[in-house]
Subunit: 158 residues, 2 copies
DNA sequence: GGAGATCTACTCGGATAGGTCCTGTCCGAGTGGGCGGGG
DNA sequence: CCCCGCCCACTCGGACAGGACCTATCCGAGTAGATCTCC
């Protein structure tokens, strides 16, 4: 799993607390990570339509919709790609005892098992929204946490 | 996810139908895959204790226990490693607004969400055994399928 | 004919190159705001 | 004083190297069976 997923999720949580666009560089120094690489992750979020990028002097990134409507799965798929982690290479059709093509209408048992597990994983990620994460943050570190971050983002320099 | 997982699972299913040791090279030509690389996967299974390797002229690999007691998760962890796919780098403790160490007793919200999803994934894989896969194979391609494979494995040459 | 030692051939196991994707970085295109000039 | 045009600085976006992990491969250590010899 790509490590940039973590960065993207934290950025989404942070973006929950602001309505003004936040530049990628500012998010990077907030998290103390590579600005250029974080920019790449945010571009992925932008391509997926989760955030809206505004250019110009006061530009940056803003969430396109309410945090309740953004699931963790959305972010993960945007950064890591929507494709499944397990790819079936159809081994059953190869070799001297290959299964006949008319027997292969349904996916093989191995693929079914892996697909079911990935479906459970996706369901779990889909059931958690960015708003839920933000709520957990407030309950973990206190109500003023996100407000403080929002104020720091708006301030001039660190 | 490592592609070798698929090979290992199919090999385990095949090994369900035999009691004699099967060489890695024979499993490789049955599946029409690279013998050397398949050997590496089987070595991983051996290290994990899922299969027993016997050397010598009639050597090969055999399952160490009943297929009902081998879960798909066991195979996946043996090949891909037991570590979780998502690794939390503790971003919250970095940057100018880093969370205080005494606030970080519990894992952060992002890590909790990802860990929960991976737990669901693992549970799904744990609930499926290699015996279940073999049963699905018989119901998919007919009762004689595994018997035919077993006979082919015992035959001299292809 | 039977038993023993040897010998061979076959097996696994780990150490070794190559390829592909993730990680990290850079610079150019585009755009909104700020400033100066004019009415 | 207000409006317009220009300029600039700041932003994103995609194209470019470096590194790590997965993929693929090879050869050596070890062992079980088969063979040959001797009794």
């Amino acid at each position: 799993m790509s490590g940039g997923v973590e960065w993207a999720l934290h950025c989404c949580v942070v973006l929950t607390s602001v309505r003004e666009p936040v530049p990628a560089a500012r998010l990077a120094q907030l998290h103390d990570v590579s600005p250029s690489y974080l920019a790449k992750q945010l571009q992925a979020l932008s391509r997926a339509g989760l955030v809206r990028s505004v250019q110009g002097k006061a530009g940056g990134y803003v969430l396109t919709r309410s945090p309740e409507l953004i699931s963790v799965l959305d972010v993960v798929e945007a950064v890591d790609g929507p494709g499944p982690a397990f790819v079936c290479t159809e081994i059953r059709r190869r070799g001297p005892l290959a299964a006949s093509p008319e027997s292969c209408t349904a996916p093989c048992a191995v693929k079914r098992a892996m697909a079911g597990a990935e479906a459970a994983w996706r369901d779990a990620l889909r059931s958690v929204s960015v708003a839920d994460l933000a709520r957990d943050v407030t309950s973990d570190y206190g109500p003023g946490t996100l407000a403080g971050i929002s104020a720091w983002l708006g301030a001039a320099e660190a």
